[in-house]
Structures are given as structure tokens and as C-alpha cells.
């Protein structure tokens, strides 16, 4: 039994150690090189991180504002419609992100919408399913009795929404936000397609990569990775302490 367990455990673990842990270690080593440290000491780098951070914050907020009504509507439909609508929401994100972004570019270029606003629009359009799905699953679990109780006790629909619905769906809100925020932080190719001048951290990493400056590229990637890990860890802790599941 023990031998069988080990023969199952070892191959994937070995693979992940060699091709996930080791690359990360090498990334860290090349980040702490002369080129890497030079890139990190450069004020422009932090300006880029700052910009990427804000674009990710705004995109996540817009995504949430757009997705909540949609998820709420879907959760209130009959099971047949519910499945159909969920399927329609999820279907695009099973297709190529580059193709979807190109399709959007194809429509936005002729009408001349190519500024940073268009980049945010494209991000929201692409990452919407990541927000709608977790929101839907927590809205769907909402006990109708509590909503009725709130209204019976004289709360207006708006008050019921803010005092009952939103707090109870917080797990979905948190999950959706983290699922959108993290990939958007490192988004690459999408901004280049929509507006070349909206340079985010991903584009800069690509620039260094193209120049063969592995040290600087690794340094920026490492910072991005640390951001990701810290966010995921905070989220996991929050989930535990608040009972958000």
C-alpha cells in the first residue's frame, strides 16, 4: 500500500519540483543580478507597477459592478434558463483570449476607441466570466427566508440589498475579485492589441525578454509573483477567519 502510494506521489511531485519550484528558484537568482537590481532601482519600473495595479483595481471594480446584476438575474431564472445563460457566459472563455481580443480590436479600431479606457473595457469583457461564476454560486445559495424576513421587518429593497444580500454574498465577491485581479495584474498581449501606449508590467517584461535582458525580466516577474502569492495568501486567511467559503 505504501509502495503504491509513493509510486503515485513521486512522479508528479518530482515533475513539479524540477519544472515549477526550480524555475522559480532560478528566476529569483537571476532577479538578484546586476541587471535585475538596476531594473528594480529604476523609478519607472515602480510607476509601471503602480499603473498596472490601478488598471487592475479599476477593471476589477467595473467587472464587479457589471457582473453582480447579471449573476443576480441568472440566479433568479428557472433552471432551464439558468443553465443556458451560464453556458453562454462561460462559453467565450473556453476560446482563445488572443482571438477574442483581436475580435474586439477589429470592432474598436474603426470607431477610433483605442485609449486606456478601451483597454479597461477589453479587460472587463475578457474576464467577466471569472467574476460572474463565483458571484452566481453565492447568490444562488442565498436563503430566500432571510430576504423575506428583512422585508417583513420593514426594510426597503435597497436596504435589504445592502444589509442582507451583499454581506451574505461576500464570499462570492471576494473570490470573483481575486480571480479577476491576479491575472489582470500580469495581463500581456491584450493591452498591446488595443492600445500600444498603455504599457503595463507584462509588456515591460516582454520588452526585456525581447532584448535578452533576462535579469531585468526576471526581477519584474519575481515582484509580480510575490504580489500574487501575498494576495492569494491574504485571501486564504480571510476565508478562514471570516468563515468565507
Amino acid at each position: 500500500m505504501k509502495g503504491r502510494f509513493l509510486s503515485l506521489l513521486l512522479p508528479p511531485t518530482a515533475w513539479l519540483v524540477v519544472f515549477l519550484v526550480l524555475p522559480t528558484a532560478v528566476l529569483a537568482v537571476s532577479a538578484f543580478s546586476v541587471e535585475g537590481l538596476k531594473a528594480l532601482a529604476h523609478a519607472g519600473t515602480w510607476l509601471l507597477f503602480w499603473r498596472s495595479f490601478w488598471i487592475a483595481v479599476v477593471s476589477t471594480a467595473v467587472c464587479l459592478a457589471v457582473s453582480y446584476p447579471v449573476a443576480y438575474f441568472i440566479a433568479g431564472c428557472t433552471p432551464r434558463w439558468r443553465n443556458l445563460l451560464l453556458f453562454l457566459v462561460v462559453l467565450p472563455f473556453w476560446t482563445n483570449l488572443l482571438v477574442r481580443t483581436y475580435a474586439l480590436k477589429f470592432c474598436l479600431d474603426p470607431i477610433g476607441w483605442t485609449d486606456t479606457g478601451a483597454v479597461i473595457f477589453a479587460i472587463v469583457q475578457n474576464f467577466l466570466p471569472f467574476m460572474i461564476l463565483p458571484l452566481y454560486s453565492s447568490i444562488e445559495k442565498l436563503p430566500a427566508r432571510l430576504l423575506e424576513a428583512s422585508q417583513d421587518l420593514g426594510a426597503s429593497p435597497a436596504r435589504t440589498f445592502w444589509k442582507v444580500t451583499v454581506p451574505l454574498t461576500m464570499p462570492g465577491i471576494a473570490a470573483g475579485c481575486i480571480l479577476v485581479f491576479i491575472p489582470v495584474l500580469g495581463v500581456f498581449a491584450l493591452p498591446e492589441f488595443i492600445n500600444e501606449r498603455t504599457v503595463l508590467i507584462g509588456s515591460q517584461i516582454n520588452l526585456y525578454y525581447g532584448q535578452g535582458n533576462v535579469g531585468a525580466g526576471s526581477a519584474l516577474t519575481l515582484v509580480l509573483m510575490v504580489f500574487t502569492v501575498v494576495l492569494t495568501w491574504l485571501y486564504a486567511r480571510l476565508r478562514k477567519s471570516e468563515g468565507l467559503v
Binding site: 503515485l8 438575474f73 445563460l85 475580435a103 474586439l104 525578454y209 509580480l224
Partner: protein, 263 residues
């Protein structure tokens, strides 16, 4: 209120689908430069069919997705099965397996590249190739397969396997005759998911494949940066159609992974 919400949902769906529909329509447009409709043609598809570069891209895409799907399905299924037992360091193990799903693609791509680059410079000549891309794809696909198969394993009653062994089956025989048939839908949909993600991937391939070993998504990336042409619309439509066929395949085998994916 419901009507308002319904109208809004409809609007969001239009925003999701309209660009794709417009792009597909214009892959049949005669004019090369105009964004106005000038007439129906299949020329762009004919050009694709005769374009050797595109053939090579497609072949590379299939080679990378195929090889990494086989490897990842094997390793991912093993990872999921090992994850059923309780052992020391299990939390670390679970985090490790799920990590490629969590970090942004560019982080994984760049980390892989820095490993290959390091080996190339300090250990042994290792230029980027299809092989390095397969390795990188296997790492992220492994995670997705493990997630899907784990979900399937959770619904499996372990006592059936133990019963098979009590009745004299070797562990290997019990696996082939009892466990595998029970989790097969999960394994197959994990494999289809892996293939789809690989087929569609741009970022990780971009950082890990060698020059002259480009894939279809990489072709789109380099073409779009020159100019928008109906030819790109046609390639995109073909990729889209391939993804849809794969999804249909995945849905036939299992209803589990609809909520997964996203690359």
C-alpha cells in the same frame, strides 16, 4: 426590476458575442482593407489552406498540445490519486499542485524561460524548442487535470476498491478494473481541458518555444502587430471553430469542467 436586470444581462451578452460575430462575418468579406462589407468570398480561407507557414504553425500547435496532454493526463491523474491519502506535508503538496492555476501566465512563462536559459548558459546547450514548450505546457496542464480528476475521485466510494483487493485483486488490477473505469470520465474531460488550454495558449508558448517553432496563436500575435487583415479573421475563425469542437467533446464526456479553464 427583473425586466431591467434581464435587459442588462442581454446587453452584457451582446457585448460578449457581438465582436466575435462581426469578426467571423468579416472573414468572408471581399475587400482587403475596407471595414465596409463589399461582398462574400472564401478567398481568405483558400489562402490559409495553401499557406505552408500556417500548416507548420498548426502542426506545431498540435504537437505541443498533444504531447503535453498525454504527459499531463498521466501525471495529473497520479497527483490526484496520491492526494486522496493523508500524509505529512499534504497542504504543501496541494498548494504546489494548484500553484500553476493561480499565478499569472506571464510569471509561469518567464520562470520556465529563466530555467531553460540558465541550463543553456551554465549546464548544457539547450536552445528553446518544441520540447521546452511541451515541458512548460505539461506543468500548467498537470494542475488542471489534477483538479478535474480530484473532483471525480471525491465522489468515488473507496470501499469498492478495497473490496476488489479483499477479493484477491492486486492493487494494479483493482486500479484497472475498478478505479479507472469509475474515474474515466474525469480523466477524459481533464485531458480535453488540457488539450484545449494548450491549443489556445499564447503567453507561455511565447516564452518557451524556439524560433521557427511558432504556434497559431503566436502567428496571430505577430500578424496583428503589423496590420488588421481579413486573413487574421480567417485564422481566428478557424481557431475558434477548433475550440468549439473541443468544448463539445468535453461536454459529451462530463458536465464537470464547464466552470474550469480560462487561458
Amino acid at each position: 426590476m427583473r425586466k431591467l436586470l434581464g435587459g442588462f444581462t442581454g446587453l452584457v451578452l451582446v457585448a460578449l458575442y457581438a465582436p466575435i460575430v462581426v469578426m467571423i462575418l468579416f472573414s468572408f468579406n471581399e475587400s482587403k482593407y475596407s471595414v465596409k462589407w463589399t461582398g462574400f468570398t472564401l478567398d481568405w480561407y483558400r489562402q490559409l489552406a495553401g499557406n505552408e507557414k500556417i500548416h507548420k504553425d498548426l502542426l506545431n500547435t498540435l504537437k505541443i498540445s498533444g504531447a503535453s496532454t498525454v504527459l499531463a493526463t498521466l501525471l495529473g491523474t497520479m497527483a490526484a490519486m496520491a492526494g486522496r491519502s493523508a500524509f505529512r506535508g499534504k497542504r504543501l503538496y496541494t498548494t504546489l499542485v494548484a500553484l500553476p492555476v493561480m499565478v499569472p501566465d506571464i510569471v509561469l512563462g518567464m520562470a520556465m524561460y529563466s530555467l531553460f536559459h540558465f541550463i543553456d548558459v551554465h549546464v548544457v546547450r539547450l536552445p528553446l524548442s518544441l520540447g521546452t514548450a511541451v515541458v512548460a505546457h505539461t506543468t500548467f496542464n498537470l494542475a488542471y487535470v489534477a483538479v478535474v480528476v480530484s473532483a471525480r475521485l471525491q465522489g468515488l466510494d473507496r470501499s469498492i476498491e478495497l473490496a476488489a483487493q479483499d477479493l484477491g485483486a492486486t492493487p494494479l488490477r483493482a486500479f484497472w478494473k475498478v478505479t479507472l473505469p469509475a474515474i474515466l470520465p474525469g480523466v477524459v474531460s481533464g485531458a480535453v481541458l488540457a488539450f484545449t488550454l494548450s491549443f489556445d495558449d499564447f503567453v507561455i508558448t511565447y516564452f518557451t518555444t524556439g524560433p521557427g517553432n511558432g504556434t497559431l496563436p503566436m502567428r496571430i500575435y505577430s500578424l496583428v502587430r503589423f496590420a488588421v487583415t481579413p486573413e487574421i479573421n480567417a485564422i481566428s475563425t478557424v481557431i475558434l471553430a477548433a475550440s468549439l469542437v473541443l468544448i463539445a467533446g468535453a461536454l459529451r464526456f462530463s458536465r464537470v469542467p464547464v466552470a474550469g479553464g480560462g487561458r
